[in-house]
Amino acid sequence: MMHTVHYLTLVTLNSDKGWAAPVELPPDQPQGGVLVVPVSNELSFFAQYRLDWSLYRGAGRYDKSHGTMQLLSNGWLKVLVDGQSVKFGKRLIDNQPRCFRYVGTLTHSDFASPLCEIEAEDESILDDLYDRKGIVVEGCDPASEYGGLNQFLASPAGQKKIR
């Protein structure tokens, strides 16, 4: 199965710092997330990733789409989003990649690997795709891809709505 780009939030849960899905977090957790991909134990990219995005149609309606990110020989990940080429690389802070384990309670085969934050080589391309076409590059859909979500949503924590 192809690895997938995820949208996760960096949090500390039970003293463990790592990634979790926004949908499984309490309402008072960070109101933002980033794109991350699973990597090898040496923190190297895999050859391909599936990248999901959606087109906003207004009034809360979205159409889903996806493409395949390919690892280039120069180390970048390249994908076509609605015909627009976008390159991603590991995000570095103080020359260090932001790589952590998943610390949440949901399941996905990618969560067995370390996960590293990625960022577009040129963020303005993503802004332009959103402004002109309503495209939101968002990673995979927790509702259809993550195990354990229905049980979480049935729990008292999962039933707390977020405004």
Binding site: G32, Y62, G139, G158, K160, K161, I162
Partner: protein, 143 residues
């Protein structure tokens, strides 16, 4: 005009839009404590709402706030850098106070999301800030 965005569900966004606006700074919390949170990027606000769809009241949308420049500038705004933002979050985590803490010293706290200085959020926490968001000096639009 200062333009800010809040990702949420359509039902809540419509209520907040009004008129009259019904943004309530005493409901909800986050990294900087109790308050109403916004950010500068509509795209990022929508990304976040998309990933929370199962926990929202209605499909994910964005509430856009166009706030009169002078009125926003008249608010008392406290700025946090990445480290101080993380420090505040750690303290609130320790005291389990993210849904109750307010500084009492200012109207808005502005600082990074999850310690990321490239992603800035605003927390509106005072009655004056709430009145500005809900009044006629702010245009509220559900998108």
């Amino acid at each position: 005009v200062v333009t800010l965005f809040h990702g949420t569900g359509q039902q809540d966004a419509t209520l907040m839009q009004g008129p009259p606006g019904q943004i309530n700074v005493t409901i909800g919390g986050g990294e900087f404590g109790r308050g109403f949170y916004t950010q500068h990027s509509e795209r990022k606000a929508r990304e976040w709402a998309r990933k929370l769809a199962a926990r929202l009241n209605g499909p994910p949308v964005v509430l856009r706030l166009d706030i009169d420049d002078a009125a926003y500038g008249a608010l008392n705004i406290f700025y946090l850098n990445a480290q101080r933002g993380l420090n505040l979050t750690e303290i609130l985590d320790f005291w389990h106070a993210k849904d109750v803490f307010t500084t009492g010293c200012c109207d808005v706290i502005e600082g990074p999301i999850a310690g990321d200085a490239q992603r800035i959020q605003q927390k509106f926490e005072s009655n004056d800030a709430q009145d500005l968001l809900n009044g006629n000096q702010t245009i509220r639009t559900v998108r």
